[in-house]
C-alpha cells in the first residue's frame, strides 16, 4: 500500500492566520482526499483533489476557506484560512490505491489547535 506523510504533524496557530498542510505520497496516485476529524468525532470529507483539475468540495466546505493545490501525482496541500477555534481538528489526507479496488489509505494526520 501507498506510504503517506504529512507536514506538519501538529501546530498551534493564532486566530485569523492560516496553516498550510502538505501531503506527500511515495507513489503516483490519481485520487487524493482531504478529511477533517473534529475532537471526539469521526471523519468528514472536505474535498477530493485530482491532479490537473480543480478540487471538488463537499457541502459545507468552500474553496476560500480550504484552498487545495495538487501540482502533481504525488503531492497536495490543504490550506485552512482565517483560522478560528472551531477549526481545531485533525486534518488527514488519504489516497485511493489504484491497484487495490477503491481502498483508501490515510496519512498520519495534522493536529491543528487554534488559540
Amino acid at each position: 500500500s501507498a506510504v503517506i506523510s504529512q507536514k506538519p504533524s501538529r501546530d498551534i496557530c493564532q486566530r485569523g492566520t492560516s496553516l498550510t498542510i502538505q501531503c506527500q505520497v511515495d507513489s503516483q496516485v490519481t485520487m487524493m482526499f482531504w478529511y477533517r476529524q473534529q475532537p471526539g468525532q469521526s471523519l468528514t470529507l472536505i474535498a477530493t483533489a485530482n491532479q490537473g483539475s480543480e478540487a471538488t468540495y463537499e457541502s459545507g466546505f468552500v474553496i476560500d476557506k480550504f484552498p487545495i493545490s495538487r501540482p502533481n501525482l504525488t503531492f497536495s496541500t490543504l490550506t485552512v484560512s482565517n483560522l478560528s477555534p472551531e477549526d481545531s481538528s485533525i486534518y488527514l489526507c488519504s489516497v485511493e490505491d489504484p491497484g487495490r479496488s477503491y481502498e483508501q489509505y490515510f496519512g498520519p494526520g495534522t493536529r491543528l489547535t487554534v488559540t
Partner: protein, 110 residues
C-alpha cells in the same frame, strides 16, 4: 441520504472476552464497505474491504462480515493491544467518497 451508524459507541472488554461491533448502513449503490482501526493521535489504519453480502475476511483476532444492511467486526479473545477506535466506512458506486460511521471505542483490560 447515505447513513452509516456504528454501535455500540464504546465497548469495555476483559482480555479474552470476545465481542462484536456493528455497522449498519443505508446507501444506494454500495461499492465497498471498509473497516479501519484508529489509535489516538494517528491516522486510520486500513483493516478490511468487503464488497458483497456473505463475504467474510479475517486478520489475526479480527473477522469482518457483510450482509445487505450491516457489517460486523468480531474480535475473538481480544488483547489489550486491540484497544482502539474501530471505524466503518462505505463507498458508493457513483463516486469515490468514503462516508464514515461514528466509530466504536474499544478498551480491552488485562
Amino acid at each position: 441520504e447515505d447513513q452509516v451508524t456504528q454501535s455500540p459507541e464504546a465497548l469495555r472488554l476483559q482480555e479474552g472476552e470476545s465481542s462484536s461491533l456493528n455497522c449498519s448502513y443505508t446507501v444506494s449503490g454500495l461499492r465497498g464497505l471498509f473497516w479501519y482501526r484508529q489509535d489516538p493521535g494517528k491516522g486510520p489504519e486500513f483493516l478490511f474491504t468487503l464488497y458483497s453480502a456473505g463475504e467474510e475476511k479475517e486478520k489475526e483476532r479480527l473477522k469482518a462480515t457483510l450482509t445487505k444492511k450491516e457489517s460486523f467486526l468480531h474480535i475473538t479473545a481480544p488483547k489489550p493491544e486491540d484497544s482502539a477506535t474501530y471505524l466503518c466506512a462505505v463507498n458508493k458506486a457513483a463516486g469515490n467518497k468514503l462516508t464514515f460511521g461514528g466509530g466504536t471505542r474499544v478498551l480491552v483490560k488485562p
